[in-house]
Amino acid sequence: MPKPEILDPQGKAVLGALPRLGFTGVTDVRQGKRFELEVEGELTEEVLEQVREMAATLLSNPVIEDFTVAVETTPAAVETVS
């Protein structure tokens, strides 16, 4: 996500479009990015640390963006596990 203090022109454009469609009551919109990474094998803390490093070096620019890493297990992966 763009850091709170960074202007987000895309979010502002979306915010401006909502009332035109009849959606009211939205006071702010911030637009970010979501990356879905699929990794080989078990999701160890070591692998997660690597993903965080990817997020900090390439996927985001820490000068203007914050990021969070969340783990989701896909149904296909669940099947493989069971």
């Binding site: 763009p2 203090e5 960074i6 202007l7 022109p9 895309q10 502002k12 454009a13 390439l58 996927l59 620019n61 000068v63 203007i64």
Partner: protein
């Protein structure tokens, strides 16, 4: 001097930059993004365009190209490096320059002849200008808004590292009207407007951009 101009996939202004180098009295050397080779050049220009389609963020993928490893190392040793437009974005993504360039505040692509004030004439790219010189060169960008935190902006201004500032009109929402900056050492310069498009009177708004390409030799003679 031998001045390398890097071509990335999606670079647009590499040929104009090479021509500006020659008009400025130097030898232009084409450099390729995929090679770990600066071909013995004395200075490097990262040109404008849309390298890697601006995917992810402008300059974010170019930063990790093989040639950039060499550029970053050479810049650390003091080699003059000039990034114009997309090149400026690549320099910020490479952390050779502080801050970042984000989408224009008005959300439209801007293409205009832009007046600038040259505020730092101690860099190898600006020494041909008189301090405070006012020049007009083309500006064309969609993501040219320079941003940095307040402390960084204060430091840039306090240390005289604002190389150029927009005059008359802030075209893209850049904080404190900043159009170009330099690193602490003063050898790396990033600039959003395009001096390479203002080196011959036949094309462009004049020849006031030429100083960026003649400065190198004047520094050598000095």
């Amino acid at each position: 001097m031998k001045v390398g101009v890097v071509t990335f996939p999606g670079s647009l202004d590499d040929v104009d930059a090479q021509r500006a180098v020659r008009v400025g009295g130097h030898e232009a050397v084409a450099l390729w993004h995929g090679e770990h080779d600066l071909r013995g050049v004395d200075a490097v220009i990262l040109p404008g365009g849309f390298s890697y389609g601006d995917y992810l963020r402008c300059g974010a993928i170019s930063r990790f190209s093989p040639v950039m490893a060499e550029v970053i190392e050479a810049a650390g040793k003091g080699m003059p490096v000039l990034g114009i437009c997309n090149g400026f974005q690549i320099l910020c993504e490479s952390h050779l320059l502080p801050g970042a360039l984000i989408r224009n505040d008005h959300r439209k692509f801007v293409c205009r002849d832009q007046r600038l004030r040259i505020e730092n004439v101690d860099t190898p790219w600006t020494s041909a200008y008189a301090a405070g010189a006012e020049i007009t060169v083309p500006l064309k960008n969609g993501e040219g808004g320079f941003v940095a935190d307040e402390a960084t902006l204060d430091r840039l201004e306090g240390e005289g590292r604002v190389v150029a500032r927009y005059l008359d009109h802030n075209p893209n929402g850049s904080l404190r009207d900043i159009a170009g900056i330099t690193n602490e050492r003063g050898n790396v310069v990033g600039l959003m407007p395009h001096p390479e498009h203002a080196v011959e009177s036949l094309t462009g708004p004049g020849t006031e951009g030429l100083g960026f390409f003649t400065s190198l030799v004047e520094r050598v003679l000095a």
